[in-house]
């Protein structure tokens, strides 16, 4: 029996964890890149649209972030071919809100106050309920 048989709790958890981890790393890298680049509206006003696009596309963190988002997408496709959509989609979408809040606090030093924790947990539960 394959370890990736549908209903295998450990395999499902590992696949969901891979999607969530890659998505979180991608989101944090992209957010860090955009914070480093600065307000895109101001860059657009100074250097035009092409200048703003160039500033984003030439940023190493942004490109790494897109790479990890791609890994997350392919992990999702892989998981969907082995596990149930009704488990993988809501679980990965909702857990990412919480892991992003933790990662943003640690790596981006964002001010994740009580209000933002509550919002992340509410949205996490809401998305899980809505996507079932």
């Amino acid at each position: 029996m394959s370890i990736l048989t549908p209903g295998n709790g450990f395999a499902d958890a590992a696949m969901i964890a891979a999607i969530v981890i890659f998505a979180t790393v991608g989101d944090v890298l992209i957010a860090a890149a955009m914070r480093g680049i600065g307000d895109l509206d101001e860059i657009k006003a100074k250097s035009g649209l092409s200048g703003a696009i160039l500033a984003v596309l030439s940023n190493g963190r942004f490109l790494s972030g897109v790479f990890f988002m791609g890994l997350s997408f392919f992990s999702l496709l892989f998981a969907l071919s082995h596990a149930d959509l009704s488990l993988v989609a809501p679980a990965s979408a909702s857990l990412t809100f919480v892991t992003n809040a933790v990662a943003a606090k640690i790596f981006l030093k964002e001010n994740v106050d009580r209000r933002r924790w509550i919002a992340a947990l509410f949205v996490c539960a809401g998305v899980a309920l809505l996507a079932r």
């Binding site: 957010a31 509206d41 994740v112 209000r115 509410f122 998305v127 309920l129 809505l130």
Partner: protein, 140 residues
């Protein structure tokens, strides 16, 4: 937060779920794609639903990047999750789909979460440069 910035967040919120839904509708019309017929995927990209879905997802990504250049990740992600509620309500009132009590609870929780996060600050100001230790003391 200006009205224009709320508008950008609105575009992020609406384009992501609508783009995903259009891709899903388009791919369901085409049916399962086997590894032996990958050319079907190229045909899929030329169908109106998939084309519109891709266009919406490009709009989403551009607005998402713009919003992250002036707001925190922990503000943008919960605030734009209201898009899931729009899509669920569209499905209920436009497509006349049934929404279970569990889903109504989900809509309520997301709306409350968005309400919480948008009441607070959108951006964590970072110190521009670390002061050199002792510099202030030597100036005074």
């Amino acid at each position: 937060m200006t009205f224009r910035r709320y508008l950008v967040l609105g575009v992020v919120a609406v384009t992501a779920p609508l783009g995903d839904t259009l891709l899903s509708v388009g791919m369901k019309r085409i049916g399962p794609v086997s590894l032996d017929h990958l050319a079907t995927l190229i045909y899929a990209v030329s169908t109106p639903q998939i084309l519109l879905g891709i266009a919406l997802l490009i709009c989403f990504f551009a607005s998402y990047l713009a919003s992250l250049s002036w707001a925190d990740l922990t503000f943008v992600l919960p605030a734009t999750s209201i898009g899931n509620v729009f899509v669920a309500l569209l499905a209920r009132f436009w497509l006349h789909e049934q929404i279970s009590p569990g889903r109504w609870l989900g809509i309520l929780l997301i709306t409350a979460g968005v309400g919480f996060v948008t009441q607070g600050p959108s951006y964590t100001e970072m110190p521009k440069k670390c002061p050199v230790p002792g510099a202030e003391a030597s100036q005074s």
